[in-house]
């Protein structure tokens, strides 16, 4: 029973802490989440450090938060991680060099597909040649 009461008290204190979070903290949390969502978790498959529950991702989020709190801009924080891990750390690669293919291929495939559909529909709807 004592343990139950202690658990309730702990939960209530936690909820109170959440309610009393200052606007500055909320802004920092939101900015951290925004930057963290753009950085790849090094030990996961295709997850951002914002979405990953791994220990390293949590620690990286903490670094993001500390750097933002220290006055770095989101671009400076991303530049820090790029300097350590390379551009691989960005979930969305910069559109240059070989990376351009990632952005061009879907558009190219859609254009080719639409062209094929137009040609096919025209062919199917063409009236049959009238007999001479």
């Amino acid at each position: 029973m004592t343990r139950l009461l202690a658990a309730f008290a702990f939960a209530a204190l936690g909820a109170l802490g959440a309610v009393q979070q200052s606007p500055a903290d909320s802004v920092l949390e939101a900015r951290t989440a925004e930057v963290a969502a753009q950085l790849r978790c090094p030990v996961c498959q295709g997850l951002s450090i914002q979405d990953s529950p791994s220990e390293l991702s949590q620690q990286m989020r903490s670094v993001v938060k500390d750097q933002l709190r220290a006055g770095k801009s989101p671009d400076e924080v991303k530049a820090y991680f790029i300097s350590k891990y390379g551009e691989w750390i960005l979930l969305e690669p910069k559109p240059k060099g070989f990376n351009v293919l990632v952005y061009l291929m879907p558009v190219l495939l859609v254009v080719i597909g639409l062209g094929w559909i137009v040609v096919a529909v025209r062919k199917w709807t063409r009236p049959p040649d009238s007999p001479a």
Binding site: P42, E55, L56, Q59, V63, S83, K84, I112
Partner: protein
């Protein structure tokens, strides 16, 4: 055969096959590090596993990268839960011992693990000749762009990262890199 149709199909499919083929030649885990050639991030980390004489440091001592300048530094990130770390442990320990008295400093950095587990693991593995330090919050690991363990960084005498090895290292690799860096430093 409709040659026009076949040509269009080939023009669409062949580049895709080439692209997939290129993808298959690459190891997705082999991600090039941007760090070699750059100044190593400074650190000041506390010793938890002292190592053995003559390479030992007292537990609680702080090892600073700045104080190792002028020496080749072999920085090995490891953890007791890491199976691959078992493969390289003895090699690292023995090789470090063979460089005693030379301007080479081996240092283990415990990654996301409890010092108690690390100490127990070292005992189970038969000891470690060089000291290991803790890395609270994995700040040093992140500063070194660590993906996982084991990873080993070779720093030249001027404090630059010369080489990064991902996965277990072997004696040939360690000696090749360390001897090359010592030769460069001696010039």
């Amino acid at each position: 055969m409709n040659w026009k149709r076949a040509t269009i199909a080939a023009a669409c499919v062949v580049p895709l096959i080439i692209l997939f083929g290129y993808g298959l030649t690459r190891d997705p885990k082999d991600i090039p590090s941007p760090l070699p050639g750059h100044e190593a991030s400074p650190f000041a980390l506390a010793v938890f596993a002292p190592g053995q004489p003559p390479l030992n440091r007292a537990p609680g001592d702080t090892v600073r990268l700045a104080e190792l300048k002028g020496q080749v530094v072999v920085l090995n990130f490891w953890a007791s839960w890491c199976l691959s770390c078992r493969d390289e442990h003895q090699i690292l320990s023995e090789t470090a011992k063979s460089y005693a008295g030379k301007p080479v400093h081996f240092l283990g950095v415990l990654y996301n693990d409890e010092p108690g587990n690390g100490t127990q693991w070292i005992e189970q593995m038969g000891g470690q000749s060089y000291p290991s330090v803790t890395d609270p919050g994995a700040r040093t690991a992140i500063n070194y762009g660590l993906y996982g363990v084991p990873e080993t960084y070779f720093l030249d005498a001027s404090g630059r990262i010369a080489y990064k090895a991902t996965g277990p290292v072997n004696e040939r690799l360690i000696r090749h890199v360390v001897d090359s860096l010592m030769a460069v430093a001696a010039k």
